[in-house]
């Protein structure tokens, strides 16, 4: 094991994950998820976020359909979708997505279709952005493991 390479990768990982917290992509719940992962379940976090991203795609697609025709918007369905999205984003620590959901719900409550469409677009952007960021993070994890190192525990407080 090349300790220098491992140390470099670990440092890279640490900096990257801290930046994700600092920029507000992730909140404390993500670190709670990481605590639940161990050597026996090394893919737990990536599996949970993968389920989350699948959820996002599905819910956004459904809500998009409900918002499609201005004269016939099913706000009840949209509200249900936002509620689910807010819940699962909260469970994985996807802070930006969760925050958009808060605004989204407000638009839904007052039946503001334009506002809902803007939020829908934003939530779509945010989840895809986070997906890319986390893919990079998991890639770094893999590189560390392949180099024979261990994934650093990161204290975000």
């Amino acid at each position: 094991m090349n300790t220098t390479i491992v140390a470099q990768l670990q440092r890279q990982f640490q900096d990257y994950i801290i930046s994700l917290y600092q920029q507000g992509f992730l909140d404390n719940q993500f670190s709670e998820l990481r605590k639940l992962q161990d050597e026996g379940t090394p893919d737990f976090v990536s599996e949970v976020v993968s389920l989350f991203f699948d959820d996002c795609a599905k819910l956004i697609n459904n809500m998009s359909k409900s918002l499609e025709r201005p004269e016939n918007v099913d706000f009840k369905q949209v509200d249900s979708g936002v509620h689910q999205l807010k819940g699962s984003s909260s469970s994985v620590g996807a802070r930006m997505v969760k925050n958009v959901c808060i605004s989204f719900k407000e638009c839904c409550d007052v039946q503001n279709r334009e506002g809902c469409l803007r939020c829908l677009q934003q939530v779509d952007y945010e989840y895809k952005m986070l997906k890319t960021k986390l893919q990079d993070l998991f890639k770094l994890e893999q590189q560390i493991l392949q180099a024979g190192g261990t994934i650093p525990q990161v204290d975000i407080n």
Partner: protein, 183 residues
């Protein structure tokens, strides 16, 4: 000569614990969200619980044999020590599930915990009034599960001690009767 009766020869059940297995709580978790199901399952496994996860209140009732499709036959051996259910679910809510469980003679003693992403006081009150053991705000924390587990294990210890004390009294009672009969 009469045979001295020892307590072991009396018909006493050896099933002193309702735990699924020593030290292991069996938890039934109910949530319609796949993300939350995966999360709660891991949370409970990490906390040394045996976990069964279902995706709806209806399935929970099926699992418990309370859906009216089956009689209670075969479900007496089902050892669930705790039920954790999401509040907002399509179809039957966690609140409705709570009521059904509390109405059942077989399962009303099982503690039911409600989980919700919304901190709505009237909702919390309603659930507690209906007999919920606790109301947890999502996302559920490891500390929440640990606290639940500790309080349930403590309740088990108390129940066990009470049972042992009761047996002691019964055994003493038998002994006194034998003495009186001069056996």
């Amino acid at each position: 000569m009469a045979e001295v009766l020892r307590p072991e020869k009396l018909e006493m059940s050896n099933d002193t614990s309702s735990l699924a297995s020593p030290e292991l709580l069996h938890v039934l978790a109910v949530d319609d969200s796949m993300v939350d199901r995966k999360f709660i399952e891991r949370l409970l496994r990490v906390s040394s619980c045996k976990v069964t996860v279902v995706d709806s209140a209806t399935r929970a009732l099926q699992y418990l044999g309370l859906d009216g499709e089956n009689s209670s036959v075969g479900f007496e051996d089902l050892k669930i020590n705790l039920i954790m259910t999401d509040y907002s679910m399509p179809g039957m809510t966690g609140y409705e599930l709570l009521k059904k469980i509390k109405e059942s003679s077989a399962f009303r003693e099982i503690p039911v915990v409600i989980m919700s992403s919304e901190n709505i006081l009237p909702r919390i009150d309603r659930c507690l009034e209906e007999g919920a053991e606790d109301f947890l705000l999502k996302p559920v924390k490891l500390a929440d599960v640990k606290r639940l587990r500790d309080s349930l294990m403590k309740a088990e210890d108390v129940a066990f001690e009470n049972l042992m004390y009761k047996r002691e009294l019964e055994a003493n009672d038998v002994y006194s009767q034998l003495k009186r009969a001069k056996i």
